[in-house]
């Protein structure tokens, strides 16, 4: 269902490697399964042609990789950025986290990525391969003879259903067409929870957060979490917590993490994508984004380089902390 093809991307990467524009290519390579895609750095044509992959499971946000992968290389690194990735790209530039000169960024269109759990819900377990015939996904299971045909829209990942933008906000070169910022319904779920009673909200989050196994996947995938030393790994931070010491620690973890990325989170949705327990962690971040939009004016992290996040800014007339609860008509 992606409009741009793997072949187009491979040829592009090969030509840039050949003419010396870049020396390395950050791309996707197949994992154990078709839906289990791994980011990889390629530095020669042969390996690119052999392992480079592009399909409906290439959801990983590459921006974060630029922080580590641009270090210690001579020459430039080619990176393919989906529209949502470009926001993280800008945000990381705002925070001076990588050297822009070392990157050659190509914006590529994205039609939305598939969620393997949704595929499994339709096709069952034991999936051996997933292919695309241009329209439908063809899912082959070890239990069936013929592949099951699935409509991509039925298995679209949550973050892609609520895609906020098909527009690239940063690139050196654009392949395919640029889209627009979309009028998404991404805050609807946050509003739904806000409308609950405090008890219902508590039960909702108790149910979700109780499943956390504190694997750190959310943090490790998050493009806003690029700290040299994470506070949770730092014995002097007072919240060091590498393994679950008691039940309580993990829940602090998610609040603190959400606060740390507040104003910097681009709402890329990686945290929820990678959560093995399917905790909707993005809702915590979206709550902050929604709240800041409503209280301090619309702000989209990463829309431009160098912007000031609402939490590093203020006006003399800001709402008092007590008043955020009473602004009924803002919510209306």
């Amino acid at each position: 269902m992606q409009k741009i093809t793997k072949e187009q991307l491979t040829e592009k990467a090969v030509s840039l490697l050949r003419d010396g524009t870049v020396t390395h290519v950050l791309g996707w390579s197949a994992g154990e399964f078709d839906y289990d895609i791994t980011p990889a750095v390629f530095s020669d044509e042969a390996s690119l042609r052999k392992s480079f992959v592009w399909n409906d499971f290439c959801g990983a946000n590459f921006s974060k990789y630029l922080v580590s992968k641009t270090r210690g290389i001579e020459g430039k690194l080619l990176v393919f950025l989906k529209p949502c990735d470009t926001y993280s790209f800008n945000q990381l530039l705002t925070e001076h986290r990588f050297d822009r000169e070392k990157v050659y960024a190509i914006g590529i269109p994205c039609e939305g990525m598939a969620d393997i759990d949704k595929v499994k819900a339709i096709c069952g377990d034991g999936i051996s391969s997933v292919n695309c015939d241009g329209e439908k996904l063809l899912v082959q299971s070890i239990y069936e003879d013929a592949p099951i045909s699935v409509s991509p829209s039925d298995v679209l990942a949550e973050r892609c259903v609520n895609c906020k933008s098909k527009k690239h906000v940063a690139y050196d070169e654009l392949m395919g067409e640029d889209g627009d910022v979309l009028d998404s319904a991404r805050f609807d779920e946050v509003s739904r929870i806000e409308a609950m009673s405090p008890d219902e909200r508590f039960l909702f989050w108790q149910n979700e957060l109780s499943r956390c196994i504190r694997c750190n996947a959310c943090r490790d995938a998050c493009p806003a979490c690029t700290c040299e030393v994470c506070v949770f790994n730092n014995p002097r931070s007072g919240v060091e917590n590498k393994s679950p010491a008691n039940n309580f620690e993990e829940q602090m973890f998610h609040i603190i993490r959400a606060f740390h990325v507040a104003g910097r989170c681009t709402d890329c949705g990686e945290c929820s994508r990678v959560c093995p327990q399917n905790i909707p962690l993005h809702l915590l971040n979206r709550k902050f984004i929604k709240e800041m939009n409503e209280c301090y004016g619309e702000y989209q992290a990463g829309e431009t380089v160098g912007s000031k996040s609402p939490l590093t800014d203020y006006t003399l007339e800001d709402l008092e902390p007590g008043e955020v609860f009473d602004r009924g008509d803002i919510n209306a």
């Binding site: 001076h96 806003a224 040299e228 030393v229 506070v231 002097r236």
Partner: protein, 664 residues
């Protein structure tokens, strides 16, 4: 591990009345790190301090916890005690068991329990205290005064008299400011020029003072004691050093139709000009907007007549950088524009003027040589209406005026009215007022004299409309006390326009990182107790840049600012507050979050080389805090996502240890 001594003070019965001090000392004995704990009647007394000093020696203490009154009371005392005992002064923490315990609780068990907890928190903190040494920075013994009005002149003179070099930067071609434009001064009616011009000469001739006229500050870097300032000297196309101020060029200049800003456009000057006879420096300046030579290359009269050969059409703006230890802002005020108040017909009739214009009309050096004549026809006005509070005391939502009282208008209007009646007893003078505000020495007496001796008609009410009709100005106004609407056929209407800070102040404040209020007045470090200091260390305030003021107030504030500057420059080195932020380079991401929230601009970034575990090196952008600029608020520590930024004396670990101790 620390060796902590705990000292519980009775404060007579102030603490011991509600807190079982012995029990507190006893309970704290068992806290980690505590090796000695005792109580005493008055810990702050000499005997109490001796007890502390001897205990430090006896038990080899490394940290002290004093359970006593508020640290706002005696923290400094006990830090000195610690220093006397050979400890670092910052190894002391105070548990406030008086103001925040014994004085607010009544029952002994409750007070005792809370005192123990507060003591535990202090012990927990001291366990993590580290010796702190205030940073030292040298002081450049030179001051910069921005603005050459009476405020700037007085400040500069006072500093210079104390023996320190001072530079004055004035954007106009001459110093003197607004006071140079005034005629007489209230309430003594001495002539402004007679008291100001000698000071202008003094400052110009002072060996410690340099004047950069026709110049502006374009960049400020650095911090208290160590400012680097860039000053732009605008090209005046006249060599200041050789111009004798003879004025031949001014008389011969063929372009004579330039509105004269010194007389507020009520007469004209030539394109090359000396603002007024007593100007300092008394040198000519060419106005490039009107000079035919500079515009078309054809003229050169001034160059031909100048015997000193001072004219230089090729002169360029010049940039000077200089180091200063202190900066005084004395940028002054301007009357607001009357554009939005055309119900008074300011734009419609030349006979509607502002009070500053009135000063020029009555000044012997003004456009009418001091005769009060109508600008429209040069006739003597028979009936004058003064309108007070034009643009002052407006609603906060007003787009036209200012919310504040401009403070000086009541008095100068009384002065104008009185002087008019004195010189021209046949003139009828009306003053429309909302309130007459005269708090000041001999002020109300002055106003009463205007009414009682000089027969000025003071009318409580406001003018609502001025209608120019032929030669007259029809003034419609209310007389609230008589319950009448008055219609006066005036010859001259004088508007007491509100004053506002000079427009250049806003950009200057940004350069200085000095804060301003919503009206663009500079804010003081404390409205009562530190009125001449800005919250930014090393930046001082003089005159109306801080708020509306009359001349006596301005001069006294100028002297106060000078005293503060002298106090600063007298020091060879500055000791900073050691409780400042510092960033752990190994953890810093270089993300700039801290810089964005720092109110002092204390944080900069540098690219640093780091050795990696694999023996490679990596260059990373990291934050670095200038301890001389940082004031220690700690805002950056919360903005920092990685926790690299921490605040000495109030470290994350320390505060969390206090939290833990309280919540245990």
């Amino acid at each position: 591990m620390q060796r902590i001594g705990v000292f519980v003070c009775w404060c007579g019965s102030n603490i011991a009345g509600t807190v079982d001090v012995a029990a507190v000392a006893d309970a704290l004995k068992n806290e980690p790190g505590v090796v000695f704990s005792t109580d005493y009647q008055y810990m702050c007394s000499q005997a109490g301090q001796d007890l502390i000093v001897s205990s430090v020696k006896e038990y080899s203490l490394t940290g002290l916890v004093i359970c006593s009154c508020s640290p706002r009371m005696h923290e400094v005392t006990f830090r000195k005690t610690a220093a006397a005992a050979g400890l670092n002064p910052y190894m002391v923490e105070i548990a406030n068991i008086r103001e925040q315990c014994s004085w607010v609780h009544k029952e002994m068990p409750i007070g005792t329990e809370k005192a123990i907890i507060l003591g535990k928190a202090a012990v927990a903190k001291v366990n993590l205290n580290a010796p702190l040494t205030p940073g030292e920075s040298p002081v450049t013994k030179r001051a910069l005064v921005i603005g050459g009005g009476i405020a700037g002149i007085q400040t500069a003179l006072d500093i210079a008299d104390a023996g320190f070099p001072v530079d004055i930067v004035e954007k106009k071609p001459t110093i003197g400011g607004k006071m140079a434009q005034l005629d007489k001064t209230f309430p003594t009616l001495d002539c402004a020029a007679c008291i100001l011009t000698p000071k202008m000469v003094d400052v110009a001739q002072h060996e410690n003072v340099r004047i950069f006229s026709y110049s502006e500050v374009t960049d400020v870097k650095g911090f208290i004691g160590n400012f680097d300032v860039t000053i732009k000297k605008n090209a005046r196309y006249v060599n200041e050093d050789i111009c004798t101020g003879c004025g031949d060029c001014v008389t011969k200049c063929p372009q004579k139709k330039v509105p004269n800003e010194f007389n507020l456009g009520m007469d004209n000057r030539s394109a090359i000009y000396i603002p007024f006879a007593q100007a300092v420096p008394k040198v000519a300046t060419i106005d490039p907007a009107h000079c035919t030579m500079l515009k078309t290359g054809k003229c050169g009269v001034c160059s031909k007549v100048c015997k000193a050969k001072a004219i230089d059409y090729t002169q360029k703006d010049e940039y000077i950088t200089e180091k200063y230890g202190a900066i005084v802002v004395a940028t002054g005020f301007d009357p607001i524009s009357m554009d939005k108040f055309d119900e008074f017909a300011y734009s419609q009739s030349p006979d509607v003027i502002t009070s500053l214009e009135f000063e020029r009309l009555t000044n012997a050096a003004g456009p009418t040589a001091g005769k009060l004549l109508r600008p429209s026809d040069g006739e003597h006005p028979q009936k004058i209406v003064f309108v007070q509070c034009v643009g002052s005391r407006c609603d906060s939502c007003s787009e036209k005026g200012k919310e504040y009282c401009s403070k000086i208008c009541c008095m100068y209007t009384a002065k104008h009215a009185m002087l008019t009646r004195d010189k021209y007893p046949d003139t009828e003078v009306y003053v429309f007022y909302i309130d007459v505000r005269t708090p000041g020495k001999n002020f109300d007496e002055f106003y009463r004299r205007a009414v009682e001796e000089y027969g000025v008609h003071y009318i409580k009410g406001m003018v609502g409309k001025v209608t120019p009709e032929g030669k007259k100005l029809m003034v419609r106004a209310s007389d609230l006390l008589d319950g009448k609407q008055l219609n006066i056929d005036a010859d001259l209407v004088v508007l007491a326009a509100a004053i506002e800070p000079d427009k250049s102040a806003r950009s200057l404040a940004t350069m200085l990182t000095a804060s301003m209020d919503t009206n663009d007045f500079f804010t003081e470090a404390h409205p009562k107790l530190r009125p001449v200091e800005s919250p930014t260390a090393g930046v001082f305030l003089s005159g109306t840049c801080q708020g509306p003021k009359d001349i006596p107030e301005t001069v006294s504030q100028a002297g106060a600012a000078a005293a503060k500057v002298i106090g600063l420059l007298a020091k060879d080195k500055l000791k900073g507050n050691p409780c400042v932020a510092s960033s752990d380079e190994l953890m810093c991401n270089g993300c700039s979050s801290c810089e964005k929230v720092c109110p002092y601009g204390a944080i900069t970034y540098e690219d640093k080389e780091f050795r990696m575990p694999d023996r490679t090196t990596r260059i990373r952008r990291v934050a670095s805090v200038n301890p001389a600029v940082c004031q220690g608020c700690g805002c950056c520590t919360v903005a920092c996502p990685s926790g690299a930024m921490d605040l000495r004396g109030f470290m994350n670990e320390q505060i969390m240890a206090e939290v833990d101790a309280i919540c245990k």
